[in-house]
Amino acid sequence: MSAVSALGAVIPSPLARRNPTVKLAILFIVSLVLLFVFDPVTPGLLYLLGLAAVLGFARIPVRTLLLAHLPFVGFALGILVVNALSRPGEVVIDLPPIRVTVEGLLVGSALALRTMAIGILSIGFIATTDPVALMTSLHQHARLSARVTFAVLAGYRMLQQLPREWQVIRQAQSVRAPLRDNGATPFGIRAFGRAAFTLLVVSLRRGERMSQSLESRGLGLGARTVWRPVPLGPADWLLLAGTVGVLALVIAGVGTLGLGLGPGVLF
């Protein structure tokens, strides 16, 4: 069975072969550490390292990689602008009503680069991970209960059918809508709300039937086996240790150079 990720088919690559739980843990650790870093250099370096790792080991098509960047870039720019304009401190540009401060630029760029660093790791994680393998692995290695993992998988299948269902509902309801002078059918808040309600009703029904199906298949009988376990080997531990090592090196290096800043910069 070919693996499919949320960003298209999973292309065999060194990163795709690693354990999903370990990859998720790395993403979590880096995000957690970055929460306490408020200088632009550390997240900037981590972003470049992450980009290099993804380019080198994930074999994601460049187009997909660029497109996946868009939401993170948009969010990062937003953070940068808001901070630069709103944070009090030493003024660099003063063109009323626009006033940009040094502190604002510093914290803003730190937060923006943090977004990018977490973003590149998320892209690397999502594009190389089959959701089914992730769920199996979370059940196996993170002790997530089978009820949760399989409910998520059944939900994932429903999610795949959702766009098609939405299209049919929209078509079915627009047949009944009045025509405007130009021949279009209006699609305002009301029509949207109605279609959303119908989708909700139809999905709830299906969800109920699916949960009955899962139960009739014996989900929740107690001790269970796993047919195709997701492997967790030395390479995975090496990946985890390596990443944590690099993270520590970067923070230590930046600190030694005196460029590191903690949450204290906010006050």
């Binding site: 069975m1 299209q167 139960e215």
Partner: protein, 615 residues
Amino acid sequence: MSDSVVPAVWFRDVSVRFPRQERAVLHGATLTIAAGEQVVVFGPSGAGKSTLLAAITAVVPHSVVAEITGAVTVAGLDTLATEVVELSRHLGVLPQDPDSAVCLPGVAQELAFVLENRAVPPAEIADRIDAALDLVGAAGLRDRQTGSLSGGESQRVALAAALIGRPDVLLLDEPTSMLDADGVRQVRDAVGAVARTGAVAVLLVEHRLDEYAGSRGVAGLPARCIVLGADGTITHDGPTASVLPAAAAQLHRAGCWLPCESELEAALGFSGGLAAPRVQRALRELAGDAADAGAHRAPEFGPVVLAGHDLAVSRDAAPRPVRRRPWPFRRAGQPGQDARRDGTVGRAEGAGRRRVLVRGVDLELHAGEIVAVLGRNGAGKSSLLLTLAGLLAPAGGRVTGARPGLVFQNPEHQFLGNTVREEIAVELPDGSERVARVLAEHGLGHLADRSPYRLSGGQKRRVSLAAMLVHDRPSLLADEPTLGLDRRATIATIAAFRRAARSGRGILLCSHDLRTVATLADRVLVVADGRIVADGPVVEVLRQGDVLARAGITVPPLLGWLVAELPSGTQLRRALDALDATVDAAAGGADPAARPGTDASADDAGLPAAAGRAR
């Protein structure tokens, strides 16, 4: 696994009553199903068939609030004291809806899931998956994604998943009611293969027994038969071959679909099926004289109300650009032209990117005419309707005519109101007198203040049809308007379409239900291999064996005989109408308004069968 002394299923004096309902759904049921026994349960809509299954799976009373009296055991376990999940060790269930029958993204994973839950050693799992898929004739589906399966394939995978845990009892809950002819055949053959192993007791609940039994008739059904009456009691229990003739008249009147020979016996009073000379004579009498006035007169229809010119149909179109087009849409669908008018069309749907399902469609729909489109699932019938309705941009050619109405397969997709009355009144001026008239016309008066979502399947379809007919659009399109309906609701639908045609509408419908098509349609189009391969009167098209084979159409035995023996379409229609008229139009003597409003409630057909006379 099963001990032959312990019955697979055992009921003693079981009654089930749902809250806020006066009548028990299941009433004093006592039955024993031995290990490995094959049983078919049938009865009219709302007779308690689903409740019987729910009592076996222990969904009643554990998951659904209901009052249950008496005792039920499954493989010796008391269902009142056993959790649903614990009983799943002994039960395999195949539900009605293929979409919710499989839950996980991959086929192999779906099957492994059952065994994992039962803690089967991983080393055995692969072999058991292969064996289960082999048994249902689905070995080739092992590596497929479940989202890409057809209805028939989904149901076979679900059947394999129900069997892979080696249950004592296999429950089949109307497993073919949502499938086309190919799907019905696939599932029936798979169930047959399972039954022949004798390792599992099979309980089949089905109302479309004519399709399920297929050409083998009564012999194609499980050996034992239990019949539920409209009041929820067991009225018959015994060998199918002897019970069915005894119960046929009762079931037929109540609106059940029966195998051909049983139906003929109930309607005509003669046994022996189509081979018997007396039956043949009676059918010819129903059909009347070929020289009868009007038999050869060409039907007169009004002007063309909707037409497609060299139309190419594709499913891959965003509906968005289409909405921007003025009605009536006289615009060609060529990408170049579209791109000039509306940039979004050219961008998203260059001709090369859209996979064309049907091309070269030239069709004219006249006022008062009923045309049916036949063909396999996925042949492009629904997409053709969407294109004609202006919801999909044509991949080529053009559509002319005023805006048509379109009734979708799932009525719930189209509901816009909170009550049936609001539903009909959508886009009408406040206090329009049409609402009351249409409610009465379609027998919906007593349901006017109910939520459309809480009606039975047949009632929902009636509401969506009425809501479309209340507007004066000159043509009406309908996608599988009789799917999943019992016979009484089907007859009511036929009558409603005929009235709409008589009032001057052109009607185009696509359907797998050949009998309804033969009863209703003036003309038939057959879609196969990406184009229209036949276009003509029902009788003529159904006589072309090669065309039917290309389009995967199986003509049921009775219809096949009538088409072969009767010279004209008028006679064919007269015979089918006469058979329909032998079904009671009223709901089993009970007052429909007094029936509680759950999905399980009977479908009252508030339309007199007399309205369904030939036009």
